[in-house]
């Protein structure tokens, strides 16, 4: 628990928690990043599942680049939010399920991107890739559901 206590008591984490603007701004970045990464991942998954067919693989790669930016925004804003409440969420089951879903969702997006990159433009997608698309979509769905639940289950500060 030493590191988490230290993190939460750093001057920066204290500023984020107490400044009237910092926390709402963090929430804004986190919501925008969420919509960007999850929305684009769903569109990419839909493409792997065959809808819409005319969307080329080059466009798919462009989308994955923008989705990665969304993910980066959320990793940074998410860590900053975490730093203000680290000791209160670390044993929160909903938070841990959210993190697991992001890990699974992140790895399966990475696998999906890597596999699509190796395919010829007009080749069909193998079944394993389609299953990955379903797992990816479900994992990010679960991440949002459990992220919302954290707000209801987190221990109060005092």
């Amino acid at each position: 628990m030493g590191f988490l206590t230290w993190l939460q008591e750093t001057e920066f984490a204290q500023f984020l928690a107490s400044d009237p603007y910092a926390y709402p701004v963090l929430l804004c970045f986190h919501a925008m990043g969420m919509a960007t990464v999850v929305g684009l991942v769903w569109v990419m998954s839909a493409r792997v599942l065959g809808y819409p067919r005319g969307l080329t693989l080059e466009a798919f790669h462009r989308m994955s680049t923008i989705a990665l930016w969304g993910f980066a925004v959320n990793a940074v804003s998410g860590f900053m939010i975490f730093s203000t409440e680290a000791t209160r969420v670390i044993d929160n089951a909903e938070f841990l399920i959210k993190m697991a879903a992001i890990l699974i969702g992140g790895l399966s997006v990475w696998y999906m991107m890597r596999t699509v990159r190796g395919l010829r433009a007009d080749a069909g997608f193998p079944l394993s890739l389609k299953i990955t698309a379903v797992v990816t979509s479900a994992a990010w769905f679960i991440a949002i559901v459990f992220g919302r639940l954290v707000a209801y289950t987190i221990k109060p500060p005092f």
Partner: protein, 164 residues
């Protein structure tokens, strides 16, 4: 106005939202999931018109629009569920009025696109630039939906009454 808000609060849906334990969190999850779907599709459609996904045909990208409509519909339903839970919390909040304004503008923009631009853009060859007006409206669309999202996220911050 107060009478209207009281009536809204006392509708069967209002009672249901307040008296059913998980109704509000479930509405929130639905709202977050569908806003991600809506924003994801709008990003792809608007950025295509702005020339970012140059390799994808216009018509293929426009085929995603039904997904955005599904996302918007779920947002609308879950949003109404929030409001009927405690309409006074929303109609005393300046950020809520701004959010409604930008939803209206974004919706009008989408209608204009559907009736005035959709067929023309859908028929453009992949390497053609979209007309300047369509590009301006696509940029406006991205700006407006982003503001809707941010104002929504900031509703608790601007609530004059304490809110979650």
């Amino acid at each position: 106005m107060d009478d209207l808000l009281r009536w809204v609060r006392d509708t069967p849906l209002g009672h249901f939202m307040r008296e059913t334990g998980n109704a509000f969190p479930v509405a929130e999850m639905s709202h977050f999931i569908s806003l991600s779907l809506l924003m994801g599709v709008m990003l792809v459609v608007d950025l295509r018109i702005l020339g970012v996904f140059k390799q994808a045909s216009y018509s293929s990208v426009l085929k995603l629009i039904p997904l955005a409509i599904v996302g918007f519909a779920i947002n609308l339903i879950s949003g109404v569920c929030f409001i009927v839970t405690n309409p006074f919390l929303y109609f005393t909040n300046p950020a809520f009025y701004w959010k409604l304004t930008f939803i209206l503008l974004g919706g009008l923009n989408a209608l204009w696109f559907t009736f005035a631009e959709h067929r023309l853009i859908s028929g453009l060859p992949t390497d053609a630039r979209a007309p300047a007006l369509a590009r301006v409206m696509a940029a406006a669309s991205l700006g407006m939906w982003t503001l809707v999202l941010l104002l929504g996220r900031l509703l608790p911050t601007f609530a004059p009454v304490a809110g979650g």
